[in-house]
């Protein structure tokens, strides 16, 4: 008898307390510290200041933000362009269910593999005496090895490589939900292939596209070890900047200010996404 009354409040209390202690309070702490001053001895000095945000608005930091957003945008676009046709082909042209399952598992394997391992593997391929260069030299396309590692090319390839499954899986979910009847109807009405694509398929897979783009974009923003490994510690993106403030430069207020801006961005993107996908598949997520 008592169990019945306790179960409901128990489950609710459980999740509320966990989130409060380990999410709400720390994030409030992050935001709070972003308004304090740096202290050499104790990390933070409880003096209110807007200095951190002012510094972030200066040219040098704005450049970092800009660079990071451009990279994230670039990576997202490349992932979308590569994944969309791929998912369309797998989802629509393969009829055999178990083949489809198998092909999907092949995509999930990299998704579940540590991105650190995949990044390191990419280093093996891109380096001067690595696979790609040896192949190109052997085939005679080039005379001298191309520098494909420790530069922006490597960073972007690495980020795309790491993020691709995050674009493929939501797209796949959206495509699976796509009702063939719509396509058939459009074709019956005389639409050509291009129109079927742009006027039927793309709008109907909108939620998958949006979900994939958000996952990839946000995932890229926080990365620090991929640019560090593939960029030779030469390039600084937002993730490296934040990490540096905590583990090298010891400027917590600046680091938390950057993190706060990132968090606001995440929330804004989520709100925009939620507002624009009003169908029942609103919270469709990759499983």
């Amino acid at each position: 008898m008592i169990k019945k009354d306790l179960f409901r409040p128990f489950t609710i209390l459980l999740i509320i307390s966990w989130l409060t202690i380990f999410v709400l309070i720390p994030n409030l702490g992050v935001m709070g510290i972003s308004f304090l001053t740096r202290d050499e001895a104790n990390f933070i000095d409880f003096t209110f200041t807007l200095n951190n945000y002012q510094r972030l608005a200066s040219e040098i930091y704005l450049k970092v933000f800009l660079k990071t957003f451009s990279v994230a945008l670039c990576v997202t676009t490349i992932c979308l362009v590569i994944s969309y046709p791929f998912v369309y082909i797998i989802s629509h042209t393969i009829k055999n269910k178990s083949t489809k399952d198998f092909l999907l598992i092949l995509v999930i394997i990299p998704f579940w593999t540590s991105s650190l391992i995949r990044t390191y593997a990419m280093m093996l391929v891109l380096r001067v005496n690595g696979l790609l260069n040896s192949f190109l030299l052997g085939v005679g396309v080039i005379n001298e090895p191309i520098e494909m590692l420790y530069n922006w090319f490597a960073i972007i390839v690495g980020l795309v490589y790491s993020s691709l499954p995050f674009m493929i899986l939501p797209l796949y979910t959206a495509f699976e939900k796509l009702d063939h009847n719509y396509i058939n109807a459009a074709q019956d009405l005389g639409a050509n292939k291009f129109n079927v694509l742009t006027k039927v398929i793309i709008p109907l897979t909108k939620s998958g596209i949006a979900a994939g783009c958000i996952l990839v974009f946000l995932g890229t923003l926080g990365m620090f070890f991929i640019p560090e490994l593939l960029g030779g510690s030469k390039e600084i993106l937002i993730g490296n900047l934040i990490k540096n403030q905590f583990l090298v430069a010891r400027d917590w207020p600046l680091g938390t200010a950057i993190a706060t801006i990132l968090t606001i961005l995440v929330v804004v993107l989520m709100v925009v996404y939620a507002r624009n996908t009003k169908d029942t598949n609103r919270y469709q997520v990759v499983v």
Binding site: F7, R8, I15, P26, I109, W112, S114, F246, V287
Partner: protein
Amino acid sequence: MNRLARLYSILVYVFLYLPIVVLIVYSFNASKYGTAWQGITLDWYKKLISNSGLISSTKNSFLIATLSASIATLIGTLSALGLYRYKFRGAKLFVSVVYVLAISPDIIMGISLLILFNLVHMNLGFYTLLLAHITFNLPFVIIIVISRLRSFNRNLIDAAKDLGASEWVVFSKIILPLIMSSVISAWLLAFTLSLDDVVISFFVTGPNFEVLPLTLFSMTRLGIKSEINALCTMIFGVTLVLIFVSHFVFRRKV
């Protein structure tokens, strides 16, 4: 399916797998720095097995992964249930917060937890790592279980309640068995995420509790060495096993 389409999809798979294949192949390369191919060897694997620091990191990682996945699945399943079944004030807000957490960059959670632990003067080590891992696993567990609950047949619950079952019985004897495959999938995902986590562990672990991804990260920062190839290959092998296990579990889902 036309040729171009087939070629394209094969290319994508090649892109996804080539580096991993290269990694596995080169883990058997007798050359220490993997530049030229110098014959097959199992030396690097043998070296790994006798490296006690690595073995201890691995044990630690599995311990944390198992514990954090189990606790997160426990809390997460109950929470998902609460959020799904009970309409309380702020439920919608909570679900939104959970989604935001799932997609937020890990680094934000990493530093926020670091600040929390520092503020309460908590010793950085096993317990902080465990708490951190449970926290980042929770949103994923909740999302997976809620997704499954949404397609749950409410009639079963109503029927049970009509027959006089209490909340607890409804949960343990009706809902849970039917969503069990999702719960197990959630556990497996949490386990994998915990095993692979670099960013959050980087910030909250302490001097006496090193985990595998961090050891791997310091090794990769040194540069390219065949020993690292062998380690990565082994970890990849474990992941493969987990995936196949999870797939079989999933297949039995209603």
